[in-house]
């Protein structure tokens, strides 16, 4: 019976989110679906520093105000342990599982403790990775002392994914920058091996090119991106999805 109603809730939310034309509409739909699923809070966000001005980033939530002020004052948008953990997976996770996904620092533990003190207990986060955009997530949380509704996590996964897409549609953040530079296949290969820590000589041996050619490819790739350093080139190529973390670490 529970799963039957779960699908019903999902479909109802899809309908509302699809029709939402403003962030206020979407927030209302998220507030309703959070309660239906047995959560107290929702937070749909790009993982950026919200205290820094000029970001066309999305953040919709109904967290307590003093928690948000505390969070922003510490510029946690980027370093928040839950946000970092969501980079490590494509599947939703409960916050209890965060230590399995990333190594927690003492500061991280402090952040989680402070959230609890300010009324936010456990939660479930659905990651959203879109190449060429800041990463983001949609979280659902329960008040301190309450239990995450485990039976409804598949439903939360589905609603979180759809909510993030609806937010991107409403806020017009989903177009890839058409002006973004592109690399040739050879340049991309060289950037990939460079990101894996290989020297030009090593890359030359791997790809069967001369060392000068490799150096030239990487120079041209930097010029296309207009970046002065190779490290910045690797990060930009990652951000645009020209190379991926799994490309770098899979051998």
């Amino acid at each position: 019976m529970r799963t039957m109603s779960g699908l019903f809730i999902a479909r109802e939310f899809f309908g509302l989110a699809r029709q939402a034309s403003t962030n206020a509409d979407l927030m209302q739909a998220l507030a309703c679906v959070s309660i239906s699923m047995g959560f107290d809070y929702f937070a749909l966000t790009h993982h950026v520093d919200f205290a820094a001005a000029g970001h066309a980033a999305v953040r919709l939530h109904n967290y307590p105000d003093d928690w948000v002020a505390w969070f922003d004052a510490r510029r946690l948008g980027v370093s928040d342990p839950v946000h970092r953990a969501s980079q490590a997976t494509s599947i939703g996770f409960t916050w209890q599982r965060v230590p399995e996904l990333i190594r927690l620092t003492p500061v991280d533990r402090h952040v989680l403790d402070c959230a609890r003190e300010r009324g936010i207990g456990d939660g479930f986060t659905v990651p959203a990775h879109v190449p060429g955009e800041a990463t983001g997530s949609c979280s659902f949380a329960v008040a301190t002392g309450r239990c995450v509704p485990f039976d409804n996590l598949p439903l939360a996964q589905l609603t979180g994914a759809f909510a993030f897409e609806a937010a991107r549609r409403i806020n017009g953040t989903r177009s890839l920058d058409a002006q973004a530079p592109t690399l040739t296949e050879r340049q991309r290969d060289c950037v990939l091996w460079m990101a894996r820590g290989k020297t030009d000589w090593e890359i030359a041996r791997i790809l069967g090119l001369s060392q000068e050619t490799v150096t030239q490819h990487l120079k041209q790739a930097r010029e296309r991106y207009d970046v002065p350093k190779r490290s910045v080139l690797a990060v930009r190529a990652l951000f645009d999805g020209l190379i991926s973390f799994s490309d770098i670490f899979r051998r």
Binding site: R18, I91, Q157, L158, F164, E185
Partner: protein, 206 residues
């Protein structure tokens, strides 16, 4: 880009079908680690690659496979009813105007931006194929990250059930309604399909 629509009964005049089966092996076996059969160490071919299957294949001018999808008749055995019926809470959608999209494949030899162009082109080609052939709905099984992208295409899709764990990932089933409005919805969702050329049969080229 070139769009070729083949049914399993038509032979393999230009090797495109073989190129697709090779690409599918690279993607689904080598990259995604699916436990599916491989023929001759090179081709990913399963029991649904039969004369009833229809393939939409995007290729470049040199005949290199860029992306493809396989459509299965839902009144015959297909993925959802054969392998994952538990993903549907109700009955598995079946009917003469419903096809299942399977093996949606983007060639990994391209970079992310190129893959996205091929993806958009293939999604729009699927919508057009449906409209031209009286298909009113597609169904499909998707791993959660891909399912999230499918939801983002702006077309009208509904979950058929809640996602379920399958190994280390989550799988979900969707039904996508295709109407004359669908191409507009896809464009509104900022899909940017490339113009496609439908190759003529080889004998006309001479």
């Amino acid at each position: 880009m070139y769009l070729t629509t083949l049914s399993g009964t038509q032979g393999v005049p230009n090797g495109l079908l073989a190129a697709m089966f090779e690409a599918r092996k690279r993607i689904f076996v080598d990259l995604l680690g699916w436990d599916v059969p491989v023929v001759a160490g090179r081709f990913e071919v399963d029991q649904f690659d039969d004369p009833h299957a229809v393939y939409l294949i995007i290729s470049d001018e040199a005949g290199k496979h860029l992306g493809s999808a396989r459509l299965l008749e839902t009144e015959r055995p297909h993925i959802l009813d054969t392998l994952f019926p538990e993903l549907c809470e109700g009955a598995v959608p079946k009917g003469p105007t419903t096809r299942e999209i399977t093996r949606f494949a983007l060639d990994p030899r391209q970079n992310a931006r190129q893959r996205r162009r091929v993806r958009d082109t293939l999604v729009c080609a699927l919508a057009n194929h449906a409209l031209a052939n009286g298909i009113e709905a597609y169904t499909g099984v998707a791993e959660i990250a891909w399912l999230q992208q499918i939801l983002a295409f702006g077309w009208h899709c509904e979950p058929l059930g809640l996602p379920r764990e399958n190994g280390a990932t989550l799988l979900g089933a969707l039904r996508i309604a295709i109407t004359s409005e669908t191409p507009t919805l896809l464009v509104r969702a900022e899909l940017v399909p490339e113009p496609v050329v439908t190759p003529r049969p080889v004998r006309d080229a001479a």
